[in-house]
Symmetry: C2
Subunit: 393 residues, 2 copies
């Protein structure tokens, strides 16, 4: 599936979408302000973090997408506007109003997202001054890489992907490297398409894809207060086959998920965990998450150490899954079975090579029924510690 996705600097936004990118000095001199606008109102769907400390951007945007219609998405990066009280809520509303005024659309048609440090107010004077200069679309930026770059905080690479469905294109942008175990969406992922899709179909398709992609990603078990994944479909390319659309959307979101995992804070490897033979998909996901989130599994992967006992331990942590029988479980690293059975010296060498690769796949077969799930994560390195021990100070 991922091979029908394009990830090159030549990827441009779909027809009818343009972007405004700027630096307004939120934290430093890199781009930190992104508006992606549609030339016309678009069908829209979005899923958000379930955090009890969800930021004002999430609370506001949840209302704005409720009618299934958006015309623009705004991203402020380097400041999350979270735990900022009534002032933070007023600021988020002012941003939506300002962008809406420039576009000539109601503030309710603007999705507001924000990512960065928690607990600080926006520099509203600078933001107001910038909003006052914001013109009406079309905007000059159409390259996906430029738009995705403006969303970055501690990301080391811009993350975007494109798929084609008939005459339409689906282009996704994402950011996020830490505080990532989305329970509804990754930190911020925005998908734009010129396909014409009815809001109800768009919502159903998007939610099913998000569940298998962004919601199957974990860098560090920490769930952001700002998680948002949204899609805007402006219809400029006309109608498409819905199944083909969902497949293309899945490919784009899966590519973004893999890019997010691979760029996890301090990560040197992509870790893919597949569980099958589970009682149901939910159990498969639970077990896969236990493995991909285990710091002992993650450090073993980092050290290219074929210490499969830690995978057994992680499966064992699913206490309430009393139908898991350690006598029937089979564990594989790559293609090679490591449990049950003895691994000889030659096998150990092959395992070390498997573990040293840039992508490591661990499979657990539970032999209960036919539930299955795949989750995406990364190794845990010294660099994760250094990045996060020194972040705000």
């Amino acid at each position: 599936m991922p091979d029908c996705v394009t990830v090159t600097d030549a990827v441009s936004l779909p027809t009818g979408f343009t972007a405004h990118v700027a630096n307004i000095g939120i934290k430093d001199s890199t781009t930190d302000f992104l508006v992606v606008a549609s030339e016309r109102p678009a069908a829209a769907s979005a899923v958000f973090t379930r955090s009890r400390f969800a930021g004002p951007s999430v609370l506001l945007s949840r209302q704005h997408v409720a009618d299934g219609r958006l015309q623009a998405a705004l991203v402020v990066s380097k400041n999350a506007n979270v735990a900022t009280g009534a002032q933070g809520a007023a600021n988020a509303a002012e941003l939506a109003a300002g962008v809406g005024a420039a576009l000539g659309c109601p503030p309710q048609d603007v999705l507001v997202t924000s990512t960065g440090v928690i607990g600080r107010q926006y520099p509203m004077e600078r933001i107001r001054a910038h909003l006052a200069t914001l013109s009406a679309p079309p905007y000059p930026v159409t390259e996906a890489v430029t738009a995705a770059t403006a969303m970055m905080t501690t990301d080391t690479v811009a993350k975007f992907a494109e798929a084609t469905v008939g005459a339409a294109r689906i282009v996704g942008l994402a950011k996020g490297v830490g505080m990532i175990e989305p329970d509804m969406a990754t930190m911020i992922a925005l998908v734009f398409t010129d396909a014409e899709v009815a809001p109800a179909d768009l919502d159903r398709s998007f939610r099913s894809v998000v569940e298998r992609t962004f919601n199957s990603l974990s860098v560090d078990t920490d769930t952001s207060t700002s998680d948002t994944a949204a899609i805007l479909a402006n219809g400029a390319a006309g109608p498409v086959d819905l199944d083909a659309f969902t497949a293309g959307l899945d490919a784009v979101c899966r590519s973004l998920t893999r890019q997010l995992a691979r760029d996890g804070e301090g990560a040197t490897k992509l870790l893919v965990v597949q569980v099958d033979g589970a009682r149901d998909d939910a159990q498969a996901k639970r077990v896969a998450k236990a493995i991909v989130n285990s710091p002992l599994v993650k450090t073993a992967v980092h050290g290219a150490d074929p210490n499969w006992g830690r995978v057994a331990m992680a499966i064992g942590k699913c206490f309430d899954d009393t139908d898991i029988d350690q006598e029937r479980v089979v564990i594989r690293f790559g293609e090679q079975q490591v449990y049950p059975g003895d691994v000889d010296e030659a096998g150990l060498e092959r395992l070390s090579a498997t573990m040293a690769a840039e992508e490591v796949t661990i499979t657990a077969a539970l032999a209960i029924a036919d539930g299955s799930w795949t989750v995406y994560g990364c190794d845990l390195s010294d660099q994760y510690i250094r990045i996060n021990a020194d972040y705000t100070t």
Copy 2:
């Protein structure tokens, strides 16, 4: 409470308990074989890991303690005997039989525990040769530090504590530095007392204490396949007041819990998280665990970074606790309130000093009702990664 506990090399096992300590070459030349024997059958209670990959030692010992009586506890360190199949189960039974034969007690009165690498068979020839030479008690070792040292794997210090209750003493031994988020017990904690306590009272007292101590400890969210906490009361010192006994037991187990957290793999600090004002104790524990287990909170503590936004994030992860209202939550580092409210420059300096201490306390008040809980953990350092990226190879 902890100041009524003694932790010095002078601590000896209670009356009627003696220890046999040896090296039988399980992995290296350090002591790896410990038998603590009572001169008479003792009332006993134990709690074990709920892991679905629980090892043969746990499965066997669960049966042995079912009648509330034990005469000895055996610890094999450096090999967990986990995921070893029918052979591993037979080996555990052979160990119990061998120790029982030396003591002249049924194998069912021997608690078998084992800790170390997963997925390897014991070197049974060496173990058999050693068991054949094992004499009847009393054994030569009575120092707690020597017994606790024989339990160590990657522990950097021996962990033990003593409390006095009337004429009786309570002495606990513990080991464990990683793969520690006990859901029933820490890796291995053995408590011996010469107090006379009826089995039912002992069981009730021990379970209530374990819940607030070992089960409130987390080093890295990974639950061991070998977790065992057990107590043996041989009655040699006669009866005691049950409340005083429980208080003394709590002090010993709390001291061991703090020692375990402080010696967590790579840890440089003890992290204590207190949650109060919760709907009930269970909610307080859930929120406290979310904070103490957050890798972003742990790395901030490691870096002495007063990044309280991460504590807000961690609280926010308790999605299903919909009665948590971010407008009413109060967060403190040490004595200092950090949320809500602005921290000025002087406050930031005080915070940095608080965070740089060897023990950091984080408090969250939820303002819902009066549930409260305290959990114990540690910071997350580069050293944790190094230890665990290179463990078996």
